[in-house]
Amino acid sequence: MTDSLTHLLGIAPLSPAHITSILDLADRYVDLNRRQVKRSDALAGRTQVNMFFENSTRTLVSFEVAGKRLGADVINMAMQTSSIKKGETLVDTALTLNAMHPDLLVVRHPHSGAVELLAQKVNCAVLNAGDGRHEHPTQALLDALTIRRAKGRLDGLTVAICGDIAHSRVARSNLILLQKMGSTVRLVGPPTLVPTGLGADVFHDMETGLKDADVVMMLRLQKERMDGGFIPSEREYYHRFGLDADKMTHAKPDAIVMHPAPMNRGVEIDGELADDLTRSVIQEQVEMGVAVRMAAMDLLMQGRAAKPDGVMV
């Protein structure tokens, strides 16, 4: 076992050993989740608070299900309708919550670095459920678990991440994780949506970008970026960068298709391809999401248990 986790703020601070231990435990939780009685008491008596400063349905439900299956008392705070509206700062909200002695805060925030700021101010474990354009570690971990189960390994693979990379925390976390584990990552998209400086090969067309890829990971194009600002139009984007069966012929014959969902069918991905269970693992990603979150929260709580109360690392 590697040194224990105190927070999960991103993939960047994790070692390959950390990543492997989370994925190994998640594999066990996948089995639990497929049973009729899906119950563990790993987090019994623990209080998990989900603080989402940004709208989300899927991720929030995934964390709620994960916490409940581990026996935690789960509280969802809809931050957009609460004290923030009354002008309370993030740090004050954190201090208020901290005084109620939660064990785990799961936080999503629209600004990069906000979750880290919050983590500095509380005594409990903080799990980043997505901060701005920075990181979304559990998404990268669930993607890694999905890939590992499909391909049997995480090293030596060629993974093409395609679409709106500039605004994507999913892309950043996946890039960091896959490179740490020894795979090659390519970034594919129009120049307006692919930033420089990420330390991966950049491609501006799908044909060369997907050539001989083992994994094709599509990203969601957000509505507000669809017209004029970053791309000329939806239909031009779909024509040049939307994934369909034709473009998939450039990848390896056994390449898998991934998408963090929700999807825009007909914008970044063809609906039929997304539903083709011989190639698409999109539904499996959702399933892995619950297991990975259970594993991450379980390990965080184990890491905390090893330390005396109130000691922050």
């Binding site: 993030l90 920075h134 950043r172």
Partner: protein, 418 residues
Amino acid sequence: MSILFENARLIDPATGQDSVGRLRVDDGHITDPGPADTTIDCQGFCLAPGIVDLGVKVCEPGERHKESYKSAGLAAAAGGVTTMVTRPDTVPAIDSPETLTFAMRRAADVCAVNVHAMATLTKGRLGREMAEIGFLQDAGAVAFTDCDAVVADTKILGRALSYVQQLGGLVVGHPQDPGLSDGAAATSGAFATVRGLPAVPAMAERMGLDRDLAMVEMTGVAYHADQITTARALAALDRAKANGLDVTAGTSIHHVTLTEDHVEDYRTFFKVKPPLRSEDDRRAIVQALADGRIDTLSSFHTPQDEESKRLPFEEAASGAVGLETLLPAALSLVHGGAMDLPTLFRALSLNPARRLGLPGGSLAPGAPADLVLFDPDIAFTLDRTKLLSKSKNTPFDGSDMRGRVLGTWVAGQRVFTP
């Protein structure tokens, strides 16, 4: 009362002097050496013309809890700053002779150092209507600037520049393309990408400068670029100077001593405007400062309270306090071999005084006895809680620095003793 400074290492940027000697002060001015009422043995420490800090924010009116004239005056004296040239980006902005007079009266009542005020170029710094430039000049405004609010409408800007030109005034611009820099918290590049921060390309500074310089050529106004922080902007500056335009430029202490990598994990005390740059840019600006292509070096003292900084990086306020750290931070350029002391004080004292038409900045007989005595070598660790500024937002907290002010005199009166 007269004072004789003996055994002083005299640093005079006007002559390039750096040698041990004597300096006599009488009736608020520097005179030829001779007998005096008091003698101060400087023990070989440096005696230089006091710093003329161009672009200090004092938060009166409006946000006195962040910095008052009183606290800023104390901080300035402790930092060897004998003249503060203040910014008008207060709340409300200093855009009318009434507000300017109020601020000047506050300064005169409580500040031991010289204070000269800049006023806005447009009303409310909104870039829509010209401020009362003539009245403001009559009330004592030494320059006109909308600070970091770039006047986007070139028609308005052109008229304002012509108006200032006709009155013989100075405009201080903030070279930045308003479109590209909108919403930015970092400089485009690997750092901003990895941290997921909205960013502005370094080129936006060149674009803003090019535009301003074209307007200067058109109107003939005297223009000072507040902060040049990127290598790319230097060529445009050189060209304008070579073409005989009345143009000078400054830079900030933070941009010559820090880079974007210092921001690390979203440390908001390192959020300044424009954002910190790459190491290549920093080196280029230090070089330009050493060879005189960039004229002035200032603190851009911008007090922010804890509440405005204890926020996610994108939401946090920009700016850093600098009055008390300007000299030790600047001395790191001397210790690092980038320039000598007279060259440093040319940028800190002589050039800003000259550009604003203020006396000072030299040790010549007849110059005002605005002086700073300092030990350039003594090492210390900066503790922000010890700062005299009301706001403690310094990026140098915990840094090992060298250089300490031993005394500050304004018009021959001692205003600081450690």
